[in-house]
Amino acid sequence: MAPELERPDATELGNARRRIEQLVSDLPGGDPAERSFDQPWQIRAFAMAVAAYQERQFEWSEFQLSLISSIRDWEASGAREQDDPWSYYQHWVAALESVLSGSGLLSEAALDEQTKQVLALPPNRNHHGPHREPIAVDQAR
């Protein structure tokens, strides 16, 4: 990377990012390499936890403990790589569910139900096939 790109990003976005970095830096897996996203749901889940905290739905330390406990359970389960592979963000989601249901904000049963509905609902009947031609052409004049 060119040296000039390594200067701290002083933009508003850079500052916001640094504040969040600070928040998550003492979490297990707080290493940025551990935190990079490879599925869209992961970045949504990440953002949701930070947003819920910013809305003062829970203390950050509660979330932290919950995350630690989910990871510890996985480790204690003997974690067979094939049956239950390591997924940092699955623990992240578990921790978020746990703090929210702990404070009565979320019912696991309702979430299970809602998840079933999402899974049962294809975006659209025709939407799963490829559309091989342009759907609109604005011809040259």
């Binding site: 976005l13 916001a16 990012r17 969040i20 990079s36 996203f37 490879d38 599925q39 869209p40 749901w41 970045i43 949504r44 889940a45 990440f46 953002a47 949701m48 930070v50 947003a51 819920a52 910013q54 809305e55 739905q57 989910s70 359970d73 389960s77 049956d83 239950d84 997924s87 963000y89 699955q90 623990h91 989601v93 578990a94 569910e97 929210l100 904000l105 979320l106 309702a110 979430l111 809602q114 998840t115 509905q117 999402v118 899974l119 975006p123 659209n124 939407h127 799963h128 096939g129 490829p130 559309h131 091989r132 342009p134 759907i135 609109a136 052409v137 604005d138 011809q139 040259a140 004049r141």
Partner: protein, 199 residues
């Protein structure tokens, strides 16, 4: 939730369900989540697509492979999604300009472009770009396509996701891929904006 293994599809659905419940309860807003996602967006952002475009500009054989089978060509660079959608690259020429949309939701080639911006998901964009592409590009995006160029709009679905290979800007003869990559903008890969100006 650790008592059973979840597929990527299941966990993605669960996160979506969780998000809609929290928003419905007024615990957080879509805007707040989007804002945080934006802060982190470059983790899965359009810089990967830019790399692919720069290589296609610099290497005609790679360009051929990319147009024939974008998913496989991207894999050569270690870029790909785990969901197995087919990506199709549509190449701009002197006579054809391409734009992508998902008319029904927000299908988007996230392995190369990152998460879609909000306006891409907006019903207004989805409808208008199909009805009057040339006008929408001009009025909404301030992007003027000459009348001599045909505009084609491609509808991504969950099985086939389009993105645009913009034309290599003039005045870049002899540029390296590292220099070229700086010229590739996200909007140019959606088809709603130009590549960056050649300095």
């Amino acid at each position: 939730m650790t008592d059973k293994i979840r597929s990527q599809e299941e966990i993605a659905a669960r996160v979506k369900a969780l998000e809609s419940m929290l928003i419905e309860k007024g615990i957080m807003t879509t805007q707040a989540i989007d804002r945080l996602v934006e802060i982190y967006e470059h983790e899965v952002g359009p810089q990967l697509g830019a790399k692919v475009v720069a290589k296609a500009w610099a290497d005609p054989e790679f360009r051929e492979r990319l147009i024939t089978d974008a998913t496989t060509a991207c894999k050569e660079l270690g870029i790909g999604g785990l969901q197995g959608e087919d990506m199709v690259v549509v190449a701009d020429t002197d006579t054809v300009h391409n734009v992508i949309v998902c008319t029904l939701c927000s299908c988007y080639p996230w392995p190369v472009l990152g998460l879609p911006p909000n306006w891409y998901k907006d019903p207004q964009y989805r409808a208008a770009i199909t009805r009057e592409p040339r006008t929408v590009l001009k009025e909404t995006f301030k992007y003027w396509i000459p009348d001599s160029v045909e505009v084609r709009v491609w509808d991504s679905s969950s099985e086939m996701r389009y993105w645009v290979l913009p034309q290599r800007p003039e005045g870049t003869d002899g540029w390296t891929e590292e220099q070229l990559v700086e010229l590739v903008t996200r909007d140019s890969m959606i088809g709603v904006g130009p590549t960056a100006a050649v300095a």
